[in-house]
Amino acid sequence: MDTKKSQLLRQGLLVFIALAVITGIEYFVGTNGAFLPAMVLMALVKAGLVLWYYMHIRKVFTGGEE
């Protein structure tokens, strides 16, 4: 049980790092001419990570099973 918990906490940390890195790239691209398709793609990837790992959207379809 504790292993599973540690695994989930670690996963949360990795997702956070990924989101932070993408935000940094977003800022860099945005303040240097903002290539629109890249900005949209980065926002979609971030949204996907939040929906899947933080909001557990799959629970809606699996009845609560992770």
């Binding site: 049980m1 949360g12 956070f16 989101l19 935000t23 303040t31 933080y54 909001m55 609560g64």
Partner: protein, 196 residues
């Protein structure tokens, strides 16, 4: 229906069934709420096109990072409660609340006051204040919800087996973060600054 489920699967089965229904209801609410934010996003591009308001870039990055970090702590709070770690839940949810308030202070307390335009300054004023105002209001309601969860958590209301309210609060909080994922580039990064 509820009595039938209780008879067949016991009180725990009934709780699971209710949680499943509640979860669906919460997501339906979030989908309907996202239409409001979607409309605001469309309005922004319709009225401003590939131009953006003149805003404080470093501050935008800071408030975005703060909200992102709050989501990280919210995830830890939810995971902690799912495994019965009440102490971990309380400390992480407190961090989330503090970061949520910091975000509000950054946007409403600083950005609103220092923006070189007002709400009545044409399309950019209307778009910026409406988008950040509507989002900020959701952050505020999220903070209130998290405070309720915190005090209930202190009283021992939630457990590893029964913590639907915590899950709902977490999903709502992440939704607020999700909206900002789109609002931040739309307001701060995409397009050229509107000349004064």
């Amino acid at each position: 229906m509820s009595a039938e489920i209780t008879a067949a699967h016991g009180a725990e089965g009934e709780y699971q069934y209710k949680t499943q229904t509640n979860r669906l209801g919460l997501w339906l609410f979030l989908v309907s709420d996202s239409f409001i934010f979607g409309a605001l996003l469309v309005t922004r591009f319709y009225l401003l096109g590939l131009h953006r308001p003149e805003l404080n870039q470093p501050l935008g990055l800071v408030v975005t990072s703060v909200l992102l970090t709050s989501s990280f702590f919210m995830n830890r709070a939810e995971t902690s409660m799912a495994y019965g770690d009440r102490k971990g839940f309380l400390s992480n949810i407190l961090a989330t609340i503090a970061l949520g308030i910091t975000f509000l202070l950054g946007v409403v307390g600083v950005e609103w006051r220092t923006a070189p335009f007002s709400v009545s300054d044409g399309a950019q004023g209307a778009v910026f204040f409406m988008m950040t105002g509507m989002h900020g209001f959701h952050v505020l309601t999220g903070v209130v919800l998290l405070l309720i969860l915190y005090f209930n958590g202190r009283r021992g209301v939630y457990s590893a087996e029964r913590h639907w309210a915590v899950e709902a609060g977490a999903v709502y909080w992440h939704f607020v973060d999700l909206v900002w994922v789109f609002f931040y580039p739309a307001l701060y990064l995409i397009g050229t600054v509107i000349a004064r």
